[in-house]
Symmetry: C2
Subunit: 476 residues, 2 copies
Amino acid sequence: MAKGITKRSEDYSKWYLDVIDAAQLAEHSAVKGCMVIKPTGYAIWEHIQANLDRLFKETGHVNAYFPLFIPENFMHREAQHVEGFAPECAVVTHGGGKKLDEPLFVRPTSETIIWSTYKNWIQSYRDLPILINQWANVVRWEMRTRLFLRTTEFLWQEGHTAHATEKEAVDETLLILGVYRTFAEEYMAAPVFTGIKTEKEKFAGAVRTYCIEAMMQDYKALQCGTSHYLGQNFAKAFDVTFQDEQSKVRYVYATSWGVSTRLIGALIMMHSDDNGLVLPPRLAPTKVVVVPIWKEDAERAAMKQKAVDLTRDWKGRIPYKIDDRDQYRPGYKFNEWEKRGVPIRIEMGPKDVAQNQVIVVRRDTGEKIAVPQYSLLATIEALLEKIQKDLYARALRNRDANTFTCDEYKELIERLESPGGFFWVHWCGQGACEEKFQQDAKATIRLQPIEDGGEPGACIVCGAPSAQRVLVAKSY
Amino acid sequence: MAKGITKRSEDYSKWYLDVIDAAQLAEHSAVKGCMVIKPTGYAIWEHIQANLDRLFKETGHVNAYFPLFIPENFMHREAQHVEGFAPECAVVTHGGGKKLDEPLFVRPTSETIIWSTYKNWIQSYRDLPILINQWANVVRWEMRTRLFLRTTEFLWQEGHTAHATEKEAVDETLLILGVYRTFAEEYMAAPVFTGIKTEKEKFAGAVRTYCIEAMMQDYKALQCGTSHYLGQNFAKAFDVTFQDEQSKVRYVYATSWGVSTRLIGALIMMHSDDNGLVLPPRLAPTKVVVVPIWKEDAERAAMKQKAVDLTRDWKGRIPYKIDDRDQYRPGYKFNEWEKRGVPIRIEMGPKDVAQNQVIVVRRDTGEKIAVPQYSLLATIEALLEKIQKDLYARALRNRDANTFTCDEYKELIERLESPGGFFWVHWCGQGACEEKFQQDAKATIRLQPIEDGGEPGACIVCGAPSAQRVLVAKSY
């Protein structure tokens, strides 16, 4: 266990905050509920952004930017939406030294301001589809905050698309769900379940909310991304219609979808260990750290030079750092880079150099390998890919080993409490039974499968008929 | 002149808005003073961001993110700062359905929230320097707004650095001024003067504000970026000290610097013409548009295929579009891409194809060149570089031809009014004389040279001694 990091087994919540602190990812700010994302944490966000942005663009989306402020009357146009979001909004009442005629809400999400704009952009079927994404900050007043997972202000992307038909809009919703799943699996090394939220858990204003849910190391669920089919709700609220090819006037169909800085919380809770942060190589800002080692002062200059020589070809291929600071001992440096989650550490002492080799250390397993210098770059590139795959496999094993079917309500509640896990249970579809999970175990239905096809059964709460199982878990 | 675009000679302000509208860059939103940045406009911002971000990182800076909100008492810590900014702030008074104990200001700039954070980050000289940049939205309540140039909310980057010595902080301020100058000249094709703002024009809270100023086509100045040496003002306001190498406790030295979406306004006003937007190739999201032309329906499929064949090797080398829409005629398409500022258009009809050539048309000059297909990619790459250089040269000629020295006050006021221009004049350094420019011609001192060395003279207003000339102009 690293100094200053609580063990997971002792206090998982404390461990989470210790890992963030030790890796210098973020901290609480002087503004209640808002965080400061520190350079190392922000660099992870930049990697998330760059990769997601590419995936969005490859699927035909473009970026734009809409105002931070939303006039109060816009919030009130869609009944479910205002009910869900207005209570958690920050409200601007004064501007330029004067009281405003109409208060402005700081956006908690941008459906209303965007659909008020789309009204002017859409007249004909020729103006459709609109496939726009926005990278932005949003504000939702939170009473109990936790760095990355739940903060009053957070950074996110929000896609807002407009379509001529229901089918096209649903296809878009599922396309993005697929993009999120791909990103989670291939970049975050995070296995996820995909599914549909219940009526109670869906987005305020959506017809249907799709989601990806991941299991953390404490067996709790974390919702990592949502993709909403909004039907014509916002088109009706803002009177957005178009003439179809037969000159018939119709309301436009909508989707919206988003992921946020919460993903950094998921990365931490999924892969890190008692020594600190562990990052999947594809999202690690620094992938390799090289630590030259010397005992005698006379060796120092030569070893520093050797580290430079060793990495001469790496520029543009692998983001790396050389840690040749004089004031710290090698052990201190190893510990520091472990806490910061750099996937590969290279130790290089005079004896290694004499044998034309270096010692390569994996952050995830601690495994040490002596590698000849001539094949180092190729070895590292292959090892980074292997670490990426191994992290995914380990997370998948953890999830599979802690995902169960359960048919006894009492057993479900006990097991949700300890040791926890994901539970596939039969549910009749009634809100009252859904409430029971919350009341008895502070658990929720995380998702319902997208495609029917499970065996039918009896609701685990009331025994009424159930067409398929749903996933129940405690969550963040 | 393109349909729907007012001529510059008729009404320059209207022309500016028409260009934005025709190129679909941005529009006013339902929220007073805030704009919607449309996909084409936002893509230009993405290019500005990507290039500036690289330049910042190459000079040792990292990104981070600080809260949107600033507690009221933070704003009041630095006397000049609060006086300059508080009157134009948006204020959040309610959050989560309750009145807040202390109002929160939506950041107009982030010195205060950042220096309240740096206080905890800095103890020793070993913690310095801190070289952080933030990409963010900020809000300054504006009465009279103009798309991109002055909006209540805008996007920008703001660098905030902390240093152990005055020299290091001043060097940083000048380093960034150099980065801004390089970016303006090499990417925006914008010649700029660099200099120091007067006391009256400097940033509220700065010791000294450096700036880059560019001339628009109507001979007015536009401030394109500022780099502030803040001395110890914010360190003192937030009690940020460090132990130096001799264990002496000292206040930290600060800089801050920023450019904003205003740069898109500069691009438009500097290079565009009566046919619409003209973009320097390095910042153009789409650099080439290929328009296949057919007369007979029978030719259509073959010409479309030819356009695809022609561009087969371009992916990853040149961002391009093929406009093979059936419902529009070639002339309509040419006009549309001209309005959108794509630097190079390729026209390709059956006759051209028969001769294994295409017609390459420059957006900036209208020049048409027949180019053999086998050398097309190389020709285009070279031509894009040439257009970039030519735009700079043209802007420089325009500036040089309209920059004068002037020693007669009456003449200065007349010429500022018409035809306008940049005027190097002697100034005694007194605020009263500076006020006169404003009163008599709505002009300001844009900058004072960084290095003394001009010939001494007599103040153009009062005749008192002046060590050097300053630059006076009307501005946006």
